[in-house]
């Protein structure tokens, strides 16, 4: 817990100064040095608060000639309780925000809990709304999405080429890895990848250049946010060990309905807000259930979307979280 920043904040990894020094380097030597630098750390900026912050300006200035993509999470279509009686409505607003910010974005990822109860009508509502983003969208399941037939209806609709919900693809030089850590959970345990998926991951990474940026996305955090609330993945460390040789690794998760991040070596971890309802900071409530007693008009400031940019010439990644409303 000590390493974790629970508040929306601006964070720069320890090699930020080095990054600034390298920012102008475009020669081959400079590029090579940049790769070395990328192996040492990541300049990583997160704005969890106001969209018009200095950071958003920084990101906007950096968007030219960069690769970027969007993330939404935890839409929980079917949930209709305090503090949100209209989860399709807030998902629609989130997709509207994606549309407003997506300039240049190559794709959209959804980090799970698309539905509340794995019902086909819930999947269909989410599917229709998210198609409105008009972006190539890649999904991973949340535990709420695999409650029927071992997740078959979710996989058929959202990961048709990956019947177990894990897969990888390359886009503009970045290797994306989608992991499923929400099935075959054990009593008393956390999220679970399982031996078969870890074996697949090892094969997927085999022979890959260590300089290729890796972006991993999965529903439950791969790092332990809070063991008592089940916010972590039992064999997450095994997956991270396989990723250790790579110079730039970014892990994007959902599940905990709040922005949290940390940087550990070459690996940056980030969780996204929900589009449905907020959950309490770990240990600050009797349970991880929804925060129900939000002051009137405050719901939208707790929901939001994420935009991730890989800056080609300077810092490799900028991650900007934007709430639906202040």
């Amino acid at each position: 817990m000590d390493e974790m920043q629970g508040r929306p904040a601006t964070v720069e990894a320890r090699d930020a100064d080095t990054a600034a020094d390298q920012a102008g380097g475009t020669s081959r030597r400079g590029m090579l040095k940049c790769m070395v630098w990328a192996g040492a750390g990541v300049l990583w900026t997160v704005s969890g608060g106001v969209p018009h912050s200095r950071l958003l300006g920084t990101a906007a200035a950096a968007t030219e000639g960069t690769f970027s993509f969007m993330q939404i999470s935890d839409s929980h279509i079917g949930f209709a309780n305090a503090p949100n009686m209209d989860t399709p409505g807030t998902l629609q607003e989130a997709v509207g925000l994606v549309n407003a910010q997506k300039s240049g974005a190559s794709l959209l990822i959804h980090t799970g809990d698309v539905s509340q109860l794995s019902k086909d009508a819930q999947f269909d509502t989410a599917d229709q709304i998210i198609r409105g983003a008009r972006l190539d969208t890649h999904y991973v399941p949340g535990e709420h999405d695999v409650l029927v037939d071992d997740g078959a209806p979710f996989f058929a609709r959202f990961t048709p080429k990956a019947p177990r919900g894990y897969y990888s693809f390359d886009q503009e030089g970045v290797h994306f890895i989608a992991l499923n850590n929400v099935q075959d959970l054990k009593a008393g345990g956390l999220g679970n990848l399982g031996a078969e998926q870890l074996e697949w991951l090892a094969k997927d990474l085999q022979g890959r250049a260590a300089s290729q940026p890796i972006i991993v996305f999965a529903h439950i955090p791969l790092w332990t946010v809070n063991e008592q609330w089940g916010w972590g993945t039992n064999d997450g460390t095994q997956a991270l060990a396989l990723l250790r040789p790579f110079g730039s690794v970014t892990v994007l998760n959902g599940h905990i309905h709040q922005v949290m991040q940390k940087v550990e070596g070459n690996c940056a971890f980030h969780t996204a807000r929900s589009t449905a309802f907020p959950q309490p900071a770990p240990g600050t409530a009797p349970s991880p259930g929804p925060i129900k007693d939000l002051p009137a008009g405050q719901l939208r400031s707790t929901l939001g979307i994420t935009k991730i940019s890989r800056v080609q010439t300077a810092s490799p990644l900028a991650i900007i979280d934007t709430p639906l409303g202040a």
Binding site: L117, G188, W229, S287
Partner: protein
């Protein structure tokens, strides 16, 4: 039958009646991501009913046979019942939130 034996028989009958009532029903409530009570001890033949009072779905899944012995997902207000005929100790958990655990002891 002497009066004292009659009283004893009545007492036994009452005792049987009350254990019969015990053998019919027990309840476990799900609140704040917790099974309450976390451990119940019941007579063989007891029907246990779990009721989800949370705003988040939960499930009741046998820890030893998670694939076969499980409830459907329980939405807010939903209940699930299972009759325990065989003596033994049964550990269960929520497959969505596996840190939620409970035990049924059947005598």
């Amino acid at each position: 039958m002497s009066p004292s034996r009659l009283v004893a028989s009545l007492g036994l009958a009452l005792l049987l009646a009350s254990s019969a009532a015990l053998a019919e029903d027990a309840a476990v409530s799900i609140d704040n991501f917790t099974f309450s009570p976390a451990e119940v001890t019941v007579a063989a033949g007891t029907r246990i009913t779990w009721t989800n009072n949370d705003d988040i779905p939960h499930a009741v899944v046998d820890a030893d046979n998670p694939k076969t012995t499980k409830s459907p997902p329980l939405d807010t207000g939903d209940s699930y019942s299972r009759v325990f005929d065989q003596p033994g100790t049964y550990h269960y958990f929520c497959s969505l939130h596996p840190h939620m655990q409970g035990t049924v002891v059947v005598r």
